[in-house]
Symmetry: C2
Subunit: 215 residues, 2 copies
DNA sequence: ATATCGTATATTGTATACAATATTCAACAG
DNA sequence: CTGTTGAATATTGTATACAATATACGATAT
């Protein structure tokens, strides 16, 4: 009947460690040992080890043979690299979605609802719709690698914006999303590509504020 | 000196299974059980399980909670998707390498050697230089995500070309490589991008011959 | 005969045990 | 005093044990 999807421990551990690295709870160069992390999280080494391998594949830590893991440098360039790739891939996805004739009516309706009640716009509503929009575009782009890479980059550093800045960001993004989806609806790949590029580039600048340039 | 012995078992298993899937030794929909694969390869379930997780991340199999793995559909579209992404990312890498001022002298010298002795061109020489060129470009592009994604896609399906076709492909590629590296050397990003796109696109067509379009 | 329930079986997910490799640091030779 | 050696220690990599979940199949009720 109701098949409640239970998250494997390894996935939970991966998510916890990823967040800990992005928030700076772990610092660049820190050595992570299986035993310590396992004990700290109250699980055995096996799922921690599997989480380490996932984190290494994502570039967050480096695994050295028989010598454990060290946290990589999560600096301004690391973040900028990710957003440069997101600009390239999200733009491509938007262009392909437009070329493929993606269904946009339902998402545009939800966007118009948000736009017409900006005073009631909260984080949860925005994030939910934001994710639905981007993932719908990835799916419509119809390329499994493109989708997988974008999904991997989706959960990165948080903006760390204050309440007012966050609100402004949500409003800007809502209008940008409307633009993007209209270009997609109208089958204009290049316009959709450029609108998406601007959208991600602005997000990039917002986040890079938290990672000052090296002197 | 055997580098395979320095590899962890899990990496070797991953490579073996990946090849088995790409060569069609395993078919779409096949159910892979940890015990069977472990017994067949003479290792325990632990490294096999870790290999399964790597293969899932790469999109080759699907892991279902408590129900084992099934081999995904490795069909024409799957391969085409990978090459579409390679066109996009290798082109971007070439453009960035050109913009960044990559060092090309040594590689161009090796290429000219090959070009001047086409009658002696063999698979090992070509593959070695081919890999060195592409990876040097990824590195010069200076974006860790771009490099990681291209590396993941590097070992895909083999062309399965006959000896004559392979020889022709090596020769074509050698001249294309020379063009690409000259554009990079001369700091012409857009020319490098387009030359690389053509190079990968031709490779794509070569490989897709082995995956006939569905009727 | 069909559908439902419960037990047996098989397989995965996690924990633990064991083996192999790397690091530490003190004893010792030069 | 400096540098090397090697046992003791610590940590990973792999194997195995145990627990939890899913599947198969037969008994039973309708």
């Amino acid at each position: 009947m109701d098949t409640l999807e239970l998250m494997p421990v390894r996935v939970r551990i991966t998510s916890i460690l990823k967040k800990a690295i992005y928030t700076g709870e772990y610092h660049s160069g820190d050595e992570l040992s299986l035993s310590n992390v396992a004990a700290q999280l109250g699980v055995s080494r096996t799922p921690v080890r599997e989480a380490f391998q996932a984190l290494e594949a994502e570039g967050l830590i480096t695994l050295r043979m028989n010598r454990g893991a060290i946290v990589n440098q999560i600096d301004r360039k690391f973040i900028a690299d990710i957003f440069d790739m997101r600009i390239l891939l999200e733009s491509e996805a938007a262009a392909r979605a437009a070329a493929n004739g993606m269904e946009t009516a339902a998402l545009l309706e939800r966007l118009h609802d948000l736009r017409d009640h900006l005073e009631a716009l909260n984080r949860a509503d925005y994030e939910s719709l934001n994710q639905d929009i981007h993932m719908a575009i990835w799916t419509a782009a119809d390329n499994h690698k493109l989708k997988a890479y974008l999904l991997e980059m989706w959960n990165g550093p948080s903006t760390g914006l204050g309440a007012d800045e966050a609100q402004a960001h949500y409003i800007d993004s809502t209008f940008e999303h409307i633009d993007i989806l209209r270009f997609i609806r109208d089958g204009r790949p290049e316009a959709a590509r450029e609108a998406m590029a601007r959208h991600i580039a602005r997000s990039r600048e917002n986040i890079l504020k938290r990672y000052p340039a090296a002197e």
